[in-house]
């Protein structure tokens, strides 16, 4: 057996984050600079540089974690490297100025596990994040990679594997939360026409705006997904699998391709896996990035080379999937959970989470939040813990208003429910859903009508057009929402929205249409008064809907503070401001097109928005 390149003792391991976020912040340049400087000091036999997947704290990238010691450096640049290498890696003196300083604090938090962002996280699907080089299969193996596979292939019958997954309580992480063990059982029981094949599919389409959970898993630990799929294949009796991943994720596609090749070379994939006689292989299918292709029947059509459009279910893919054969389709994160469950046992997994929702969930935390990033938390954790403790609250001292979970198919949960525990049932009862893990935080400056309009315009855009309720219905709803945000709403509009929403929910062909009205329905449920104010008073309380704003200049502030600086007049494209330099200025309402530029450019806060 060939010698393993990494089997060497180093006194320091420099874990450079090479997730998409840090890579776009020049992580690879940082890595090269570190290597060069380390060689300059002849430290290359003592200190190793290891590229890893996303650490989650992308906000602070590029990130470097020094092991042992777990010292967390952030926002490093190439010019910091000589000082850092000499001080810390040669002389052993950690450099405080490159460490993480919590907002408003003067002392850094040197150690990763003490940083609030990381403290409450529990890593299961992301168990190897920051710890291995995803392009070295030996490192995955060192962290128990493919151990569960060996167990599943030699010690467990397909039924035993399925019952272990069923007992763990694992539910699909792709949206609907269907029990994974049950799905596997259905595919195992299904009879393939003419005794033909069965398939497993990994859904890595991930189309929710702002979501990057699945991308990060594929980038950080592709072997976890591959191993999960081989175990699933053994359980249901499949001989081939596909990973459907969007082409916009080049790093993920590339790392997955490298991982597949290494797994084949090591005999962990392909013919006669681990000498057990089991054959199974996986191919990558790159998707063109349509939201609807994440829907399972559309995804299957796309893999088959047909137009990525959904079809009515039943039959479900478990009966008739790829090329009409029984097909088990699971989300990236679902697959990544499988090996740990087999390795550590269903009881261990079921010990995490709530009565109905077991294990952990990965969320991408974005929007008006201090710590944007990727977090993995135990089910049952409250929204407050995620937003305040992990997310570090709302920037600029603003008040929290709502959080959108479940992406465009989900809903907005208001601040009154911030102590809601995260599980499938609680989120559904609040009118939202778990979805695949998008979490968009909104502050007091957010207009909820505008938010609903944004998500609806997304789904309207992504609607494949095959069924009328979704194609025409979402268009009609979007027209109404647009009208309301422009101050042209009529009192019946709210009832109209509700009628359209329930018609679409009842009649749309696939989940895209059935869930598209959710953002409108939840904002109507929790923020109805905002809709009413828009329609009745022609006002947007958050001043987001510009057509409803009235811009006016306070003459006192303009003169006393700004000395009539004239900047607003010079920037106004519609010549809607009167006054000349040294005088108090005023907005000519009949000419104003409400673009808001005057308010943006005034350095003295003299432009009032009403």
């Amino acid at each position: 057996m060939a010698e393993v390149a990494t089997a060497r003792t180093y006194r320091l391991h420099l874990m450079v984050c090479a997730g998409t976020g840090c890579v776009s912040n020049h992580a690879f340049e940082l890595k090269t600079a570190l290597e060069r400087e380390i060689e300059k000091h002849k430290l290359e036999n003592e200190v190793t540089v290891v590229p890893t997947g996303c650490n989650g704290f992308c906000e602070r990238g590029p990130i470097l974690v020094v092991q042992p010691g777990n010292v967390f450096y952030q926002q490093l640049s190439v010019k910091d490297v000589p000082h850092l290498v000499e001080e810390h890696f040669l002389k052993g003196r950690p450099v405080a100025k490159f460490m993480y300083f919590p907002p408003e604090e003067k002392t850094p938090v040197p150690v990763l596990s003490d940083i609030p962002f990381f403290k409450k996280q529990v890593l299961v699907a992301l168990r190897n994040r920051g710890l291995i080089d995803p392009e070295k299969i030996e490192e995955a193996i060192a962290r128990d990679g493919y151990k569960a596979l060996a167990k599943a292939l030699t010690e467990m019958s397909p039924e035993a594997i399925i019952s272990e997954i069923a007992r763990s309580g694992l539910r699909g992480r792709g949206g609907a939360g269907f029990p994974t063990g049950l799905k596997w059982q259905l595919v195992r029981n299904a009879v393939s026409p003419n005794g033909g094949a069965k398939y497993v599919v990994c859904n890595g389409d991930e189309g929710d705006p702002g979501a990057f959970m699945d991308r990060s898993i594929l980038e950080a630990d592709p072997h976890a997904v591959i191993e999960g799929m081989v175990i699933g294949a053994k359980a249901i009796g499949a001989a081939a699998g596909f990973v459907y991943v969007r082409n916009e994720y080049p790093l993920a596609v590339n790392r997955l391709a490298v991982a597949l090749e290494q797994a084949r070379a090591f005999g962990l994939l392909g013919r006669d896996i681990l000498g057990t006689g089991f054959d199974f292989d996986i191919r990558i299918k790159r998707g063109a990035g349509a939201f609807v292709c994440g829907e399972e029947t559309a995804l299957i059509a796309s893999i088959e080379g047909r137009l990525g459009e959904p079809r009515p279910r039943p039959p479900y893919p478990a009966q008739s999937g790829l090329w009409g054969k029984p097909t088990c389709i699971n989300n990236v994160e679902t697959w990544a959970n499988v090996p740990v469950i087999i390795d550590r046992g269903s009881a261990w997994f079921a010990g995490i989470g709530t009565a109905t929702s077991k294990g952990t969930k990965v969320f991408s935390l974005v929007g008006k939040i201090n710590n944007t990033g990727l977090v993995e938390v135990p089910m049952g954790i409250t929204l407050r813990e995620i937003i305040s403790d992990i997310g570090g609250g709302i920037p600029g001292g603003k008040a929290f208003k709502a959080v959108q979970t479940g992406g465009p198919s989900g809903g907005c949960i208001p601040k009154e429910q911030i102590d809601l525990p995260i599980d499938y049932e609680s989120l559904a009862a609040a009118g939202s859903m778990m979805g695949s893990g998008g979490m968009v935080v909104m502050d007091e400056d957010t207009c909820m009508v505008d938010v609903a309009r944004y998500f609806l315009s997304f789904t309207q855009d992504e609607s494949c057009g095959k069924c009328t309720p979704c194609r025409e219905g979402t268009k009609a709803m979007l027209d109404v929402l647009t009208r309301i945000t422009e101050g042209k709403g009529v009192p019946d509009d709210i009832a109209l929205l509700e009628d359209l929403a329930s018609a679409i929910k009842d009649t749309a062909l696939c989940g895209l249409g059935k869930t598209a009205p959710n953002p409108v329905l939840t904002t109507l449920r929790y923020f109805r008064d905002e809709y009413e104010t828009h329609i009745r008073d022609r006002k947007c309380p958050a001043h987001v809907c510009r057509q409803l704003n009235i811009y006016a200049i306070d003459p006192r502030l303009c003169l006393d503070k700004g000395k009539g600086c004239d900047v607003c007049r010079r920037n106004c494209a519609s010549e809607a401001i009167s006054g000349s330099k040294g005088e108090a200025h005023a907005v000519l309402q009949d000419k104003c097109i409400k673009c808001g530029v005057c308010a943006d450019v005034c350095a003295f806060g003299a432009v009032r928005v009403e």
């Binding site: 393993v4 006194r11 052993g92 003196r93 060192a142 090591f266 005999g267």
Partner: protein, 129 residues
């Protein structure tokens, strides 16, 4: 790369496992801290560190932490290192060279008995990792 069998997979795991131990924040039975100030480096601290790393490699040690820290304030007696074993007071060693360092690793770190000939004193202040 020939294909792995079940046994070979387990062997590979055990073999590569130890290289990853320093990343995982587990417990170490001992910590050896080589003082790497400018004075220490001039007196040969780098050679001491290299010898320790080679020795750790040769013996496949996975629970001994090798670190460096700044000048210990006793520049005339460099190279120096501090050895901390679990539950015992730290011991400072002075005027080291690679051979002495290897001896200390064997007798003190692995064998549990302090090498009095090279020791400055027992019970000096602890070091941070």
């Amino acid at each position: 790369m020939p294909k792995l069998t079940i046994d070979e997979l387990a062997k590979m795991r055990d073999r590569t496992r130890r290289t990853l131990v320093p990343r995982e924040g587990g417990e170490f039975r001992a910590k050896i801290n080589v003082h790497m100030g400018t004075c220490g480096i001039a007196a040969g601290a780098r050679a001491v560190m290299t010898a320790l790393i080679e020795e750790a490699e040769r013996r496949s040690l996975q629970d001994v932490l090798l670190t460096s820290s700044g000048c210990a304030g006793l520049c005339s007696q460099e190279p120096m290192m501090t050895v901390e074993t679990v539950g015992k007071p730290p011991v400072k060693y002075v005027n080291l060279d690679p051979a002495k360092a290897r001896e200390i690793l064997e007798k003190h770190v692995l064998g549990g008995s302090i090498v009095r000939d090279y020791a400055l004193g027992v019970g000096s202040e602890k070091t941070d990792a």
